[in-house]
Symmetry: C2
Subunit: 163 residues, 2 copies
């Protein structure tokens, strides 16, 4: 008889609540897919998920983003964003440009080389995701997007209540 793979879900015991079961399965599934994305980005492009995410945020805003806004969108600490930005700047993939409205501030934007590099990676990344989610049909994905939307709204309202 094959042994079941052990992971974060092994925490479940029979009398656990349906919500715990769902949460642990969300965690385990996310980790599996995220680990795969990190590995593929590293193997194929020698890059990391935070670098990819930062470039993805910049790609949407041709005029660039202020550091604070960039940090907020990536939901990581400002320090990390600064470190990644410094490295990408050294590699010529992003640049800092002055903010005409505030001489102490600047915008970060992709360089033309950064944009080209990102577009290629993004296309591959999208293909990897479509492949990972091939287990579900379009209708099922749409149902799940709806469920997750309700969970997000709930989580935001809970935070609003006790912070």
């Amino acid at each position: 008889m094959p042994r079941t793979a052990t992971d974060v879900e092994t925490r479940i015991v029979s009398d656990d609540h349906a919500a715990i079961r769902l949460w642990l399965r969300m965690l385990a599934t996310n980790r599996l897919i995220e680990t795969r994305m990190r590995r593929l980005l590293q193997e194929r492009y020698q890059t990391t998920l935070p670098r990819f995410d930062l470039m993805a945020q910049l790609e949407r805003v041709p005029g660039g983003l202020k550091m604070g806004e960039l940090s907020k969108r990536m939901m990581v600490t400002g320090g990390n964003v600064t470190g990644i930005t410094d490295l990408l700047e050294q590699e010529g993939l992003v640049e800092r440009v002055d903010d005409p409205g505030d001489r102490r501030a600047w915008f970060v934007k992709l360089t033309p080389a950064g944009r080209r590099a990102f577009i290629g990676m993004a296309r591959e990344h999208e293909r990897w995701i479509a492949e990972a989610f091939g287990a579900l049909g379009t209708r099922e994905m749409s149902v799940m997007v709806g469920f997750l939307g309700r969970l997000k709204t709930r989580a935001r309202s809970l935070e609003g209540r006790d912070t």
Copy 2:
């Protein structure tokens, strides 16, 4: 008109694939819920999610686990597990016991004080999760557990193929 909150989902552009949309929403939802759990564990118990997870794994196995098995179940690096175990041992919440079958190995197990501390936290943690997932009914949670199960199986088979 209220501004939409910006997060990892702001990466979506209109022509993106349904799978991308689902994946980014999974990431954003997980981060929101996980951030809340970390915050509550810190505020109410002055503890961290990795410490809680490690104790949860040990709680299921009264005889204790070898370090390698513990690391695998937590899916973090062996180094982290060792560091957390050292701290919990200093606080009297876990202990190392000799492996009678291998004099160079040992088991890690919860102490009675560790077990009592964990049970109290686990009950609260379960309540927080049930609260966060209150946006979905039992039937909906069960549908989502099924979808995630298929995604997990798919992710595991993809890893098997190209590693």
